[in-house]
């Protein structure tokens, strides 16, 4: 029972991390370091909640979250890919902008409610038979739509990245954009398109927290999990399989801290459990010798020509 609980929580908490980290893998493979991920998560969480609350439809909520991601991505992509401004500085600006904007817009819509407004959660969708399996049944086959989507996206991401021509172009854009250019393919278009797509995914990941997990919106709802997704991309070595593993590890830590908090165990300070993933990140970064960092990560592509 305890194991089942932990496992179920782990899979649930790793859902948005999988989606966000996979998005980051795609975009960083083209050479753009999307550091606006935390802010984009938040915009997704906000839009998902507002869309669902106003219309009463969770589907509209999900679509609004995607739209918010696309808009944030368009802003970030336009500034970094076309105007070639600094990616970190631009991303940081968006991350600072997002909480203020989200809170402001929340109040524009709803004023300052006494109790936080709530929406119902995305329903869990049990898969017939499989969800009855012992131990793993509930964890893997009785989750909401976003969890299933996350696993599907990981598989699709792997396939696209390594088995298709689109993936080849994406990987080449970050490893040597000049080669892409020489092939007559527009590097800026590849990068901008991928930023938009990745940010749409980030929006969905953010919506998980508002309409898939808590059923409400606060401006600190993401609480640094965008950064964790960002770190998982790095730890997962820019590979969807690595993202899967990394997300589950961080999901486990998240789940453990929830369980420990609610079970009244005082042996291990809760803060320590929360800190585990971060300690892990640092250890893994030091221990790992070779990362396949995309060679042109973070560097705007400026066409040669005197």
């Amino acid at each position: 029972m305890f194991i089942e609980n932990i496992l179920t929580n782990t899979v649930m908490m790793s859902t948005p991390l999988m989606i966000g980290a996979l998005a980051e893998v795609l975009v960083e493979r083209t050479g753009v370091m999307n550091i606006a991920i935390e802010g984009t998560f938040l915009m997704g969480a906000w839009a998902g909640f507002v869309g669902a609350y106003i219309t009463g439809s969770l589907t509209v909520g999900l679509l609004s979250a995607v739209l918010a991601g696309v808009l944030t991505g368009a802003l970030y992509g336009y500034i970094t890919v076309y105007l070639k401004q600094h990616q970190i500085v631009t991303g940081t600006a968006i991350n600072i902008l997002a909480p203020g904007l989200a809170l402001y817009l929340y109040r524009v819509f709803f004023g300052i409610p006494l109790l936080p407004l709530q929406v119902e959660l995305l329903p869990t969708i049990p898969i017939p038979f499989l969800s009855d399996l012992p131990v793993v049944g509930r964890a893997f086959f009785n989750q909401n739509i976003l969890t299933y989507a996350a696993f599907a996206l990981i598989a699709a991401g792997f396939w696209v990245l390594f088995k298709t021509r689109t993936g080849l172009v994406i990987r080449s854009a970050g490893a040597n954009p000049e080669a892409v250019d020489a092939a007559g393919i527009n590097v800026e278009r590849v990068r901008f398109g991928t930023v938009i797509f990745a940010c749409a995914m980030d929006g969905l990941a953010g919506a998980f927290y508002s309409i898939g997990f808590l059923g409400l919106f606060t401006e600190n709802i993401i609480g640094g999990r965008g950064w964790i997704a960002f770190a998982i991309c790095f730890l997962g070595n820019w590979n969807p399989i690595g993202v899967l593993v990394g997300s589950l590890v961080f999901g486990l830590a998240d789940a453990l801290s929830v369980v420990i908090r609610t079970s009244g165990v005082t042996m291990v300070p809760n803060e320590f459990v929360i800190a585990i993933p971060y300690i892990l990140t640092i250890v893994a970064t030091i221990a790992r010798r070779r990362f396949n960092v995309p060679a042109y990560l973070g560097i705007p592509y400026v066409k040669e020509g005197r």
Binding site: R171, A175, A179, A182, G184
Partner: protein, 517 residues
């Protein structure tokens, strides 16, 4: 059936007429016209900066011509991008490869297909075709190998295969042998012969004369952006080509006084020097030279023969692998750049923007860039603003640097004035030796003339000067002695520049030693 018909039935596949290209006021190609015929190897010969690469980048769609027109198969075409060029069957092998190092051969070939018809081919189909093409032309390479694990010669093959996969029938090769070993060069030439035998064409850009005789059917020589001559290989001789490349007219630099070359007070002695280049090869490969006080030693040579590495080794910016450098009797290797500056060696680097200046800092800051720690300009780590300002004003006056204030950003100065800032600083440092690499590169005539006069003045003050330039005219008019560098060695010294035979120097620059002394 195609064999032997090349001379009789020569159809032009490409015609360039009146191509002119300016780069911010500098003319790179000046009404160049030439044609490429079906089934031939056309050698495009010329010194660095003669406009060969620019012309071919225009044909490949990387640059747009300011004037002139291009015809392919007799039809007038506008080539706006490499994509357009490839669609017309024109492929280019750049000096610097456009491969993704962490990807496999087949992935690179597929990427190179761009939006062409073959871009959708599967990895297996593409691998098969690569293997077949490789076998047909002797360009075998493992389709699944990672580029970064292949030697340079193999990487070049991949570039060629990329172009062939895309359907190139006119291949432009920009100095393809520069990175190859002699054996690989031979294989490349075999490929070129096979390829053109089938009715394809190759434009071969080079500055090496021997290669021209080995591979070309026809030769076009460019000089200063213009066509200096065109002739079939059989009518060409090394002398004729060298004269066409270098040109006879040499500008006279006036006001040259006799040197104060003190008989044999040697300032710099370099012996058996070996230095590695950035690709790990021996850029300087057993080089000897010496310079006396009050003497300008000019190093002539085609760029990329070890000049920059030599200069950097002397200035402590590149590690000396073997051999020795003696400055006024003291050994330099092992000392760092700061100590060498302290010892009185000034350095005018070839790329002033990258190495000589901090463009976003002020004129005065750039003037003291290498000496801010000296007690003249700072006291316990605090800059002495008054002294610096006074010094700067004096220098600006002395060298007539055109700036409205010592605090103006160097970026906002003209190229000539930027170079004056570098020269003023280095002249003050160079108590015994000045190393000047391409000191007039990119400068207009007036500014270049000023630089020349400053160098001659330094010589009359008894400084030793190492002048590296790819402009032979500059070397000839300034130097007391000339050393010709080729592949990291001084092949020959000419002691009397005034009476030296230009054609002979040109030949040595190409690595032809012949029956020289």
């Amino acid at each position: 059936m195609e064999n032997g018909a090349s001379a009789a039935e020569s159809r032009n596949v490409v015609e360039l007429s009146g191509i002119t290209k300016y780069f911010t006021g500098v003319i790179a190609n000046d009404r160049v016209s030439l044609e490429v015929r079906k089934g031939e190897v056309l050698a495009l010969l010329g010194e660095n900066g003669a406009g060969k690469s620019t012309l071919m980048k225009i044909l490949y769609g990387m640059y747009q011509p300011d004037e002139g027109e291009i015809r392919v198969d007799g039809r007038k075409v506008a080539i706006r991008s490499p994509q357009d060029a490839m669609d017309l069957g024109i492929g280019m092998i750049h000096q610097h490869f456009t491969l993704v190092p962490v990807h496999t051969v087949v992935e690179n070939v597929l990427l190179g297909a761009g939006k062409g018809p073959k871009a959708r081919m599967s990895v297996d189909e593409a691998s098969k075709e690569i293997a077949e093409t490789g076998e047909a032309y002797g360009l075998e390479v493992d389709p699944d190998a990672l580029i970064e694990q292949l030697p340079v010669g193999m990487q070049q093959r991949v570039e060629i295969l990329k172009a062939l996969f895309r359907g190139a029938r006119i291949l432009i090769m920009d100095e393809p042998t520069a990175v190859l070993t002699p054996q690989n060069t031979k294989r490349l030439f075999d490929f070129i012969k096979d390829f053109t035998k089938e009715g394809n064409s190759v434009v071969f850009i080079t500055h090496k004369l021997q290669e021209v005789f080995e591979i070309a059917d026809r030769i076009v020589v460019l000089r200063n952006g213009k066509v200096a001559g065109e002739l079939p290989r059989d009518d060409a001789s090394e002398k004729v080509l060298a004269r066409m490349m270098v040109g006879r007219e040499m500008e006279e630099i006036g006001g040259r006084s006799a040197g104060v070359r003190s008989p044999r007070k040697k300032v710099l002695e370099v012996s058996g020097l070996k230095v590695r280049g950035s690709r790990g090869h021996w850029a300087v490969d057993g080089l000897d030279l010496d310079i006396a006080a009050g003497e300008i030693l000019g190093i002539a040579g085609v760029s990329g023969n070890g000049q920059e590495e030599l200069a950097e080794a002397i200035c402590g910016l590149r590690e000396v692998a073997e051999g020795n450098i003696m400055l006024e009797g003291e050994s330099i290797p092992g000392r760092d750049a700061a100590e060498i500056i302290e010892a009185g060696v000034g350095y005018i680097p070839s790329d002033r923007h990258r190495e000589g200046l901090v463009l976003d800092m002020s004129v005065e800051e750039n003037l003291i860039l290498k000496r801010f720690a000296s007690p003249v300009f700072s006291n316990k780590g605090v800059l002495k603003e008054k002294e610096i300002r006074g010094y700067s004003k004096r220098v600006i006056e002395d060298y007539s640097i055109k700036t409205y204030s010592p605090t103006e950003r160097v970026r906002d100065l003209s190229g000539g004035n930027q170079q004056k800032v570098v020269i003023a600083r280095e002249m003050d440092i160079a108590r015994s030796l000045l190393v000047a690499v391409q000191p007039t590169r990119g400068l207009d005539l007036g500014a270049a003339d000023y630089v020349h006069r400053v160098l001659l003045h330094a010589r009359s003050e008894g400084k030793a000067i190492l002048l590296v330039s790819t402009e032979l005219s500059e070397i000839l008019s300034l130097s007391d002695r000339i050393g010709v560098i080729y592949r990291g060695k001084i092949l020959r010294f000419f002691d009397e520049p005034a009476t030296a035979d230009i054609e002979e120097i040109g030949l040595v620059m190409m690595g032809v030693t012949g029956n020289g002394s």
